[in-house]
């Protein structure tokens, strides 16, 4: 693509975002002269540039829009919502044309006469028919993003004025008017008029001759230094500052002193990599120097160390962008919503200058948009309703952001009706997300959190905007994917507040360095909930159910994954499991058994080579301070190994609900049989317990039976005949059914206990109903029916015995 066009696309894309929010501001306050001047100048620049580049379609639309704006500015036309909508339509159309231009390098085919006719009609004070304008689908991405993906404004590397936009293409306002030298088109203003208009407008400060004081070359963009403003009207102003280039002065502070140059992201990424490597090298050097006390290198090395640290901080900063960049589209979104829903909505933004890594920023852009849309659509009442309730007619959606520790906290709140707890409760039951008893045991907050559950939506009707039921769970997944958390509080009639907490950067993460199978691995700390020490003398012991390992932790069963054996490490065989890392991935929770926990370290994540991409248990690799390479485990992939042990989601809340539920306690017999975990069976199923001398059990052809009360009763082992004892006293559990009896041989009868029976893990073989915690131990619950059927089969194979039994009965 032509360089000039590429440049044009990037700049115009930025200008258009500014125009969007400026227009919304202008509509709210039509007397604000500065705003109008800004818009006018921006649109004019677009028009001028595209005429210069030979883009007739774009030029015509921009021209007609500009003319209309000119009428507003002259005060000849009143600013009405319809007029603003019309201008916004033309902005949308420009965006569509730009998108086509970006894709193909040429203006897309199309006709804009519908739009231009209406713009002209309005400019001449005629009747306007908004429906005549074909609605267009504006591409979601910012224009120009493909040309030079996400260029950054890097603060203050030199005193380059922000308006470098225009001169960069070699254009100056005034001498590029394409109208020069030909007849005016309908609705066009003459160049002289334009010049006059510009002359009338206050020149922004940057046009003044006085140079910026040197002190202005601050290493922060002005907007970051700006205190958070709470007033609704001020918000868009602060935002416009973020737009960087192309903006003229505000009365209060003059020109936004964003002194910046464009640097491609690739360069920054490269710089980041270099610095990461430098940090690693420094760590190595320091380690060597520590072992040599008298080293003459100590002092310069210390200096190098400090400088490297500072350099790392500075480079990290270049990746930081104000969160306002993700909010730019929101004023327009809320304005459109406000018209569509017939609600009056104010959007308040605070802390737009709060910075975070651009990678993270890209990832939260969509979730944030979704949530603002949700708040405006579901959260706020209609204007009439609000008036009836005695609330201010204008609903407010408020966005705020601030730093807290290594995190950025974003709040999205509305002063609407709050969540309807009763309705959510009904929905939970209706959708089968939890049973009625479970739901009744939950408090309001816990109920509210169910809106994050997959497939949950309470919207009675699906609107154009929201209510399709794929909302908050997607938001939650997106946020958790980047190691963030989301929560909400809601007051009935008072509004809802969502709080999102996300790490500032993904490039450097805190990790635990663990050992297993003689090798070291890194585990991202964000997914580790706690560390539990196990082993011989520890409080927590690992128990075995068949081949699966579980840990009893505060009366819950935690499925375990052994790291060494899972990775098939040879050395893992002789190792003792000493630590269990409790890991939470989404809804799932499991324990990762490791041999050792060695260290915590800040690691620089590097992707694995493509030849290793099919190894799903590792998400990357990193170089530690000692120069060795360790692999970074992916907790998500490992959870799938634990997954088949869990019948259902093991979310904390659900488990709590089961525990606190009023399940009646039952008497259970604990016994040992067939090896493995202890077994339990409800006492009610058992008719008798017998201790029989082994000699009395008659064995025939792989089966066993006992003459019992004048009848022949089959004796079964838990897993077959080999479970029967060969000498001594054989304990038996006797079950009787209709007209028959059956005995189950066990190794030892342990105890009879009263406990709630709640099966937490699904069974892995027949004869067992599942695993539950009984009297504080993990027990397999016997499936009595399974053995009854087996016993009955024995009877039927011996018709004589069966008939005699019947005779006795």
């Amino acid at each position: 693509m032509d360089d000039l066009i590429a440049e044009f696309l990037t700049e115009t894309g930025e200008s258009l975002e500014v125009v969007d929010s400026e227009l919304v501001k202008f509509e709210a306050n039509p007397t604000e002269r500065k705003t109008l001047d800004n818009i006018f100048r921006l649109v004019h620049t677009i028009k001028g540039t595209c005429g210069f580049l030979g883009l007739p379609r774009l030029e015509a639309v921009a021209h007609a829009g500009e003319t209309l704006l000119g009428r507003f500015r002259d005060g000849k036309l009143e600013v009405t919502p319809v007029a603003v909508t019309l201008v916004l339509h033309s902005i949308d159309r420009i965006k569509v044309i730009l998108a086509g231009l970006e894709a193909t390098g040429n203006e897309p085919e199309g006709d804009d006469r519908d739009l231009i006719a209406q713009l002209e009609a309005m400019a001449e004070g005629g009747e306007v028919d908004l429906t005549a304008v074909q609605a267009v689908q504006v591409p979601d991405r910012p224009i120009g993003s493909d040309i030079d993906p996400a260029e950054l404004n890097v603060p203050a590397l030199g005193a380059i004025p922000p308006e470098s936009t225009t001169p960069a293409t070699g254009l100056n306002v005034g001498d590029i008017d394409p109208a020069t030298g030909r007849a005016l088109r309908p609705g066009e203003v003459s160049e002289a008029d334009l010049e006059a208009a510009f002359a009338a407008a206050d020149a922004p400060d940057w046009m003044n001759d006085e140079p910026e004081p040197v002190s202005e070359v601050a290493p922060e963009p002005a907007v970051a230094a700006k205190p958070a403003e709470s007033a609704a009207a001020k918000a868009p102003e602060a935002m416009s500052g973020l737009g960087g280039p192309g903006l003229g002065g505000e009365e209060t502070q003059g020109i936004t002193t964003t002194q910046s140059i464009r640097v491609s992201v690739d360069v920054l990424e490269g710089l980041m990599t270099l610095v990461s490597e430098m940090v690693l090298t420094r760590n190595q050097l320091l380690q060597i120097s520590r072992n040599r006390e008298d080293s003459a290198f100590a002092t310069p090395l210390q200096r190098l160390s400090t400088l490297t640290g500072e350099l790392q901080d500075s480079v990290m900063k270049t990746r930081m962008q104000p969160i306002g960049a993700a909010w730019k589209k929101l004023p327009r979104l809320v304005r459109d919503l406000s018209y569509e829903l017939g609600k009056k909505i104010d959007l308040v933004m605070e802390g737009e200058g709060t910075e975070l890594d651009r990678q993270v920023l890209e990832l939260i852009r969509d979730p944030l948009t979704h949530m603002v849309r949700n708040s405006a659509d579901h959260g706020l009442e209609s204007t009439e309703e609000r008036v009836q309730l005695g609330k201010p007619a204008n609903g407010t959606v408020k966005l705020s952001a601030f730093h807290e520790g290594g995190y950025i906290v974003i709040r999205i709140s509305d002063n609407g009706r709050g969540l309807n707890t009763g309705r959510i409760r009904e929905k939970i039951i209706e959708k089968g997300l939890a049973s009625r008893t479970e739901v009744e045991g939950l408090n309001d907050q816990q109920i509210h959190r169910y809106i994050f559950a997959p497939g949950f939506s309470t919207a009675a009707k699906v609107t154009n905007l929201s209510g399709r039921g794929v909302g908050m769970d997607v938001v939650r997944t997106n946020i958790e994917q980047i190691g963030g958390q989301i929560d909400l509080t809601s007051v009935s009639g008072g509004g809802t507040t969502f709080t999102i907490k996300i790490p500032l950067t993904l490039a450097i993460v805190s990790a635990l360095i663990v050992g297993a199978g003689g090798q070291k691995f890194a585990v991202p700390q964000t997914s580790v909930l706690e560390l539990v020490r196990t082993g011989q003398n520890a409080e927590h012991r690992i128990e075995k159910i068949n081949d699966a390992l579980v840990l009893r932790l505060r009366n819950k069963l935690l499925p375990l994954v052994q790291l060494g054996p899972t990775l098939q490490l040879e050395a893992a065989r002789d190792e003792d499991a000493t630590f269990v890392m409790v890991i939470q991935v989404g809804e799932r929770r499991y324990g990762l058994v490791v041999n050792d926990v060695l260290d915590t370290e800040e690691i620089v994540v590097k992707p694995l080579a493509s030849i290793l991409r099919d190894v799903d248990v590792f998400s990357g690799a990193t170089i530690l301070g000692d120069g060795s390479v360790v692999l970074i485990l992916d907790p998500n992939a490992l959870s799938e190994r634990a997954g088949n042990m869990l019948e259902e989601k093991a979310s904390e809340d659900a488990e709590d609900a089961v525990d606190t539920g009023d399940t009646a306690t039952v008497a259970m017999l604990l016994f040992k049989a067939g090896g493995g975990a202890p077994k339990a069976v409800e006492l009610a199923h058992i008719t008798r317990l017998e201790h029989i001398e082994v000699e009395k059990i008659e064995r025939m052809d792989g089966r066993a039976a006992l003459q019992y009360r004048g009848k022949l009763m089959p004796v079964l082992g838990l897993n077959g005949m080999h479970d029967l004892m060969s000498e001594g006293i054989q304990p038996l559990l006797v079950f009787t059914g209709e007209g028959y009896a059956m005995a189950l041989a066990v190794d030892e009868i342990v105890d009879v206990v009263e406990d709630r029976l709640s099966i937490e893990l699904s069974p892995d073989r027949s004869g067992v109903r599942g695993t539950a915690v009984v009297a504080g131990r993990a027990c397999e619950i016997l499936d009595v029916d399974y053995y009854n059927v087996q016993g009955l089969a024995e009877h039927q194979r011996k018709p004589g015995a069966a008939s005699s039994e019947r005779a006795v009965a």
Binding site: E277, L280, T281, G517, Q519, K520, L567, Q568, L569, K606, L608, A609, S610, I611, L612, R613, D614, V615, V617, F618, A621, T622, I623, G627, S628, V629, V630, L631
Partner: protein, 147 residues
Amino acid sequence: MSLRDYVTLRVGGQLFGVDAARVHDVFHPRGLTPVPQSRPEIAGVLNLRGRIVTAVCARRRLGLPPREEGAPEPLAIGLEVQGDSYGLVIDSVDEVLKLDDEKFHAAPGNLPPRWAEIIVGVYQLEKELLIVLDPHTLLDNAHLKAA
């Protein structure tokens, strides 16, 4: 007549050549971290001057028997494929040869399939044949899977 530089190396006694322009480094693969659950060809990952390099064993890749006991320490040549850094672990590096394109022959048709796709062609040297390898197919995941 056009000349081209080749780095010649030995794997299991056989002489191979790789376009010298593609070879970034020659180094001893030390401090290898094995990658569990990866393909057998992967020797591990290592830190080469702050870069993470994936070491691939040429013997296993070519289906040759493993290194004999007491053999000298292996070497690795550093290659870059699709932006990733690899180290191809070989027995020894011989020298850099300037070879004339005219002496270049396409690979013979009777090679085993594991070899056929990673061989660009063959040079007839005076004493023996020099087999020219294609680093891209040698280290590409898709080709590795097919092998």
